[in-house]
């Protein structure tokens, strides 16, 4: 599907957030150092990447609006 410019990064951000949060949820059932590491490294990284993508798309949207007058 061809999405207009602002929606593509948002969709990618949503995918990252969903996968990251699912990993986070799974680690919450474990009491083991690997659960902790998986939470931080995989869950945290993906969720963080999703949030950053979202914030970047916001900023680029604003910049685009400002540039477009």
């Amino acid at each position: 599907m061809n999405l207009p410019h602002p929606r593509k990064p948002l969709r990618a951000a949503a995918v990252c957030v969903v996968v990251g949060l699912v990993i986070e949820a799974l680690t919450l059932f474990g009491t083991h150092p690997m659960a902790f590491i998986s939470f931080l490294v995989f869950g945290g990284f993906l969720t963080g990447a999703g949030v950053l993508l979202y914030l970047t798309s916001l900023v680029s949207g604003w910049l685009g609006d400002a540039g477009g007058g």
């Binding site: 929606r7 969709r11 951000a13 949060l21 919450l28 009491t31 150092p33 902790f36 963080g48 999703g50």
Partner: protein, 202 residues
């Protein structure tokens, strides 16, 4: 706390999935609010609460003893000999049984300084990809602070003549508590010793 966190995560996943399925939801004021909730507020809250939950879990006895290399240390808690310090503390409930390791090792790995945290990550690496040292040893001598945060001020400690004579040295860490109370985990000598377990209690 876990059920609330799982609810937060579920909500964030549902909203984000809706955004994936219908990107047109991101338009309009309502859409922007939903996007902000799904892609910022809820994930950030989930990360923060999740990290806190994992940190709390890492203080538990179950967490510490979940690594194979720590099993003998768990076994030492059940030695049927009240001269063994970890055993007497665990068996008599002098420290919370579900946080028995953390009660005496408060500055270890995640709970110490940056160097201690790096060491904690190194422990994991060695546990899964290397060969743990044998026998295991603390990086720094055990500090009396760990004993005195409970025993300091306790009548049994303060009125003991042996302690009175060297109280200053104990507080300043000049003399280690373990110089006299020397039976600690002694994991190399556990074979053949009688063991007690919580199930043995009437």
């Amino acid at each position: 706390m876990r059920p609330i966190l799982l609810l937060l995560i579920l909500l964030a996943v549902m909203l984000s999935t809706a955004l994936i399925a219908r990107p047109s939801l991101t338009t309009g004021i309502r859409g922007r609010v939903i996007t902000f909730l799904a892609l910022f507020l809820l994930p950030v809250l989930s990360l923060a609460f999740g990290a806190n939950l994992h940190l709390e879990k890492s203080k538990t006895t179950e967490f510490c003893l979940s690594c194979h290399v720590m099993e003998p240390y768990g076994e030492s808690l059940g030695v049927e000999d009240q001269d063994y310090l970890p055993a007497v503390h665990f068996q008599n409930g002098l420290v919370p049984r579900d946080r028995v390791c953390f009660s005496c090792h408060t500055q270890y790995t995640m709970y110490g300084d940056l160097q201690a945290k790096v060491t904690g990550v190194k422990h994991l690496w060695v546990n899964y990809f290397g060969t743990p040292a044998e026998p295991l040893a603390l990086y720094q001598p055990f500090r009396n602070r760990e004993c005195l945060h409970c025993h300091g001020g306790a009548r049994s400690f303060e009125e003991s003549e042996l302690h009175l004579d060297i109280k200053g040295e104990l507080v300043s860490n000049e003399t280690s508590c373990l110089e006299c109370h020397e039976l600690i985990h002694s994991v190399g000598e556990l074979d053949g010793l009688e063991k007690w377990s919580l199930e043995d209690s009437p």
